[in-house]
């Protein structure tokens, strides 16, 4: 790429005026262009950020609204907690009985360990 790319479009008089300072003018123009691009990029990012935030806010409020109205009401109307609790209670009673039966069994690990302990002691 030509070094004097920014000065190509200048008219003859202006080119005469900056004779000897072409490199400096080129550098200054480059810096200006770079700064301008950076600012416009930041602007674009900013807008996107704000729009994203408002969009996420919209979704958040919508979700809270739906949870507190539709979902909670449905949950209350068709609650299955009591049935689940009763089922778990039945299972719990069975497991307790099972445990007692297992503990009373002569072949279980605890009995074997205790037997071994007494055998060694006496």
């Amino acid at each position: 790429m030509s070094k004097k790319k920014n000065l190509v479009n200048l008219d003859r008089d202006t080119r005469e005026k900056i004779r000897g300072f072409e490199e400096l003018a080129e550098q200054l123009l480059d810096e200006q262009i770079e700064r301008g691009t950076k600012i416009s990029k930041e602007k674009v990012d900013d807008t996107f950020e704000l729009y994203q935030f408002l969009d996420s806010e919209d979704k958040r409020i919508e979700k809270v609204n739906r949870m507190l109205t539709t979902k909670l009401d449905n949950f209350k109307k068709h609650s299955q907690e009591e049935k689940i609790y009763q089922k778990v209670q039945v299972e719990l009673v069975n497991t307790r009985q099972n445990l007692v039966v297992n503990l009373a069994h002569e072949d279980n690990n605890i009995h074997q360990q205790i037997q071994e302990m007494f055998r060694r002691l006496f």
């Binding site: 704000l50 729009y51 408002l54 409020i61 609204n65 507190l68």
Partner: protein, 178 residues
């Protein structure tokens, strides 16, 4: 504070991006807090009230009065927009969200304030409409219902944990179930 000023403040809040704003109060009496909350429009923008200068006892009283004022106005400290209380004297509260310092406020509502473009303004209007709809829900009742559901689910959880513990014991006994 007259109605016109309150309406102006509300109108101002509606056109604002939901960013943090501080509520400054001179005393923490219920009446004054109620007036201040009406003026600031709790629930329209995220707000915080800094009570970190108070000692532990006064903080407890202030929190109690803040909660009472909110109940009187039928406003909830979480929805649609939160009202945080800044204090490091108390870890948590039954009703109010507590944050130890301003710097620790959730970053979600920290946005650059700028002029809105048309599409952003439209989206903001939509958000305002939905948040107003949310304000009309009986929030305290709904939250109480959710807490009640928690209790029932905890009962189930405890029963399941107990059951699991017994099953683990049976496995350790090394005898097949019969």
């Amino acid at each position: 504070m007259n109605d016109e000023t309150q309406n102006n403040q509300k109108e101002k809040n509606r056109s604002r991006i939901p960013n943090y704003a501080e509520i400054t109060v001179e005393s923490y009496k219920v009446f004054e807090l109620t007036e201040k909350f009406k003026e600031q429009g709790i629930g329209e923008v995220p707000l915080y009230i800094d009570v970190s200068a108070l000692n532990e006892e006064l903080t407890k009283k202030a929190l109690q009065n803040i909660a009472q004022s909110l109940i009187l106005l039928n406003l909830h400290p979480f929805f649609p927009y939160p009202l945080y209380v800044i204090t490091d004297k108390i870890g948590q509260h039954d009703v109010l969200p507590i944050i130890p310092t301003v710097e620790e406020l959730p970053a979600h509502f920290n946005n650059k304030i700028k002029r809105l473009k048309q599409k952003e303004q439209l989206l903001l209007n939509k958000v305002r409409l939905k948040s107003n709809r949310l304000s009309n829900v009986a929030l305290y009742d709904k939250i109480a219902e959710i807490k009640n559901q928690f209790k029932n689910q905890r009962k189930i959880l405890r029963a399941c944990q107990e059951n699991e513990f017994y099953e683990h014991l049976i496995d350790k006994l090394n005898i097949p179930n019969f």
